[in-house]
Symmetry: C2
């Protein structure tokens, strides 16, 4: 058993290897991400999201027959229980943030099933329904004749969906589907390690993804580009921010010390999207902001190797796909849920309950004091 | 930074110290549990659950004025949102397990508030309402004139609650409120570490507690006593089980190598409960089963030091309190939610995102194969 020599506290668990996985490999020094054996660029550009999900759950790409069967299973499982829709209406009335509504609604999937395919199938329906409800529109029924990515886009606006937009979304979903033991994936594994079910694992993971230190800041990364507005303003605006001690949203990652490999994949997809739409101005501006930011970060923080991260091009691509900023983190969840489930299934196959230790730093040997003899103490919360 | 020398995988995180805490201290060798400075026996027998919760959240016992104010806050926050009740009705119709219903309903507390007191106040209401719905009875409205423990008992059957039963429940709730970095508490801290909210942390923790390797088996521990039925049968029945390789429910704990200190506290409370009820037969039988089990476990597994754990006397006490077996794990949650929130607040005060690493054991350098050229592979799930 690997242990520390004494009670050394590692509150972030950095460097602690908590699982063996066949799902993804993050090499922060080389800037590589391997998903079930494929470089992320190799997989993301080719696969449908159904193929990527199957790959993670089974370890191999599906055959034609397996893929057809899996697509049909997912397509048949998209409709939500009436209680889930009713809950989403209440969430909209209470003005809940989209990720809170998604977490609450995902918790009701148990009403229908705890099957992996059902959970994955419900996510786009929940996200699209809630987005429409918050805009004062009725949810649209899911279509069973479309794939997972196209189905999601169709439920947002009911439009016939352009195949290029579907390809763009599919590339995004494939790119962010899994990424080692990030906090939400780790949460899913800890919950699964107690012998709990997949809905519990996924709902816990959603709670972690929701946190601003994890689910990230694709909205703010785009805000930065809009705020700059003109390539000529990039340098003065960014200098002012860095000198004021502001963190530049979209740059820097705890793991990657070179460019996040996902940034390239998403940048290429974004470029295709904007080229097709015929207006490259935002894309060109973003590239210019990126180049300036990296140059200035190296100038002000030499050796820190702060690079563009996945959030920067996520924002650009999803914006190019026509998604509202409020849909950015939910879209991340629509993808990552396949990874969470893959990790939960992997955990089940070789399980050991995950139970670290804590170091106690509080008082000892206190004696009970009756209420009448107590002093008033300052409240901590 | 503390790291392993290489990619040594510690899949259970045993021996890894993942947090510093002032909340509880588990000494498995000495058989001690300290809760915010008090030995569990010292605290459990004296405190109301409101005092214990306050102690965990603020580090000190409350003054009279603070306690009155906290009791009033909790009492005023007990009613559920109509959407939560509606969801519980659907859960009952779908025959969900009580812990699934509690997890789903707890996820809707965000409709009302994310305040610690609101979350804790709602738990007994949810558990009691669901229990009544599954028995075909309408939920009872919470009473604001009762304490937390009495309020829960009153919502089950609407009876005037005997103070001795309230004291018994309160002792139970105090005893299991916190226990180091168990899997559900660790889940709450991981979720909180991303900057997420308390409802997300608590819902994730509920998912972990639900797992049979964690939330435990107080039902089966009682089943064992009922199955034996007569002290004279204890030895042959237990011998047969041990020789058949069956695990004896209620004995053995990953941390405690001597008697779980909580077992004594709960045994004493159970004894008072049964003494008062005037029928000691089940209690006497249980003590006899316990003594025989420990003797036989030492005979068959010498040196393993398998001792009575908290589940054994939890079962006896909660049964003595008149709680249905289906309420045992939910009652655990009614207590532990105060501990989860205390850990989440502690995590917030000195936060670092919890993100361990994984070791990749899968293939590398796979190349994309078009659908038409793929072989069919065996499905893993």
């Amino acid at each position: 058993m690997a242990t520390y020599g004494g009670p050394m506290v590692n509150s972030g668990l950095e460097g602690v290897v908590a699982a063996t996985t066949r799902l993804s490999h993050v090499d922060g020094e080389r800037g590589e991400l391997v998903i079930a054996g494929y470089q992320v660029g190799e997989l993301a550009a080719h696969a449908t999201f159904e193929e990527t999900t199957w790959l993670l759950w089974h370890g191999e790409l599906p055959s034609n027959a397996q893929l057809e069967s899996f697509r049909a299973t997912l397509a048949a499982a998209r409709a939500l229980a009436p209680a889930t829709i009713a809950l989403l209406r209440e969430c909209a009335r209470a003005n809940l943030a989209p990720m809170d509504a998604l977490r609450a609604a995902a918790g009701t999937i148990s009403l229908r099933s705890e099957e992996p395919a059902v959970i994955v199938a419900c996510f786009p329906t929940i996200v699209a329904a809630y987005w429409r409800l918050t805009k004062g529109m009725e949810p649209l029924a899911p279509r069973s004749d479309l794939g997972h990515a196209a189905g999601f886009l169709s439920m947002l606006n009911g439009e016939v969906v352009d195949p290029e937009r579907v390809r763009g979304l599919e590339t995004y979903l494939n790119t962010v589907v899994d990424h080692g033991l990030n906090a939400s994936t780790f949460t899913a594994r800890v919950i699964t390690s107690t012998g709990s079910d997949l809905v519990s694992a996924v709902v816990g993971a959603l709670g972690a993804l929701k946190g601003p230190l994890h689910g990230g800041a694709p909205g703010p990364a785009l805000d930065l580009v809009f705020e700059i507005g003109d390539a000529a303003r990039a340098e003065p605006v960014l200098r002012a921010k860095i000198e004021a001690g502001e963190k530049l949203m979209g740059f820097g990652h705890r793991v990657y010390k070179v460019r996040d490999p996902r940034a390239d994949v998403l940048a290429q997809a974004a470029e295709r999207m904007f080229t097709r739409a015929g207006d490259m101005s935002l894309y060109t501006l973003a590239r210019s902001v990126e180049a300036t930011a990296i140059r200035l970060l190296e100038e002000y923080k030499p050796g820190r190797r702060l690079q563009t991260n996945v959030e920067f091009y996520t924002a650009l691509l999803l914006h190019g796909l026509g998604l509202d900023v409020s849909l950015f983190t939910p879209a991340f969840a629509i993808s990552r849920v396949s990874g969470w489930i893959a990790h939960a299934l992997e955990q089940q196959r070789a399980n050991r309950i995950i139970r670290p230790q804590s170091e106690y730093a509080g008082p000892l040997d206190r004696r009970w004091v009756p209420l009448s003899q107590r002093m008033e103490v300052e409240q901590r919360i």
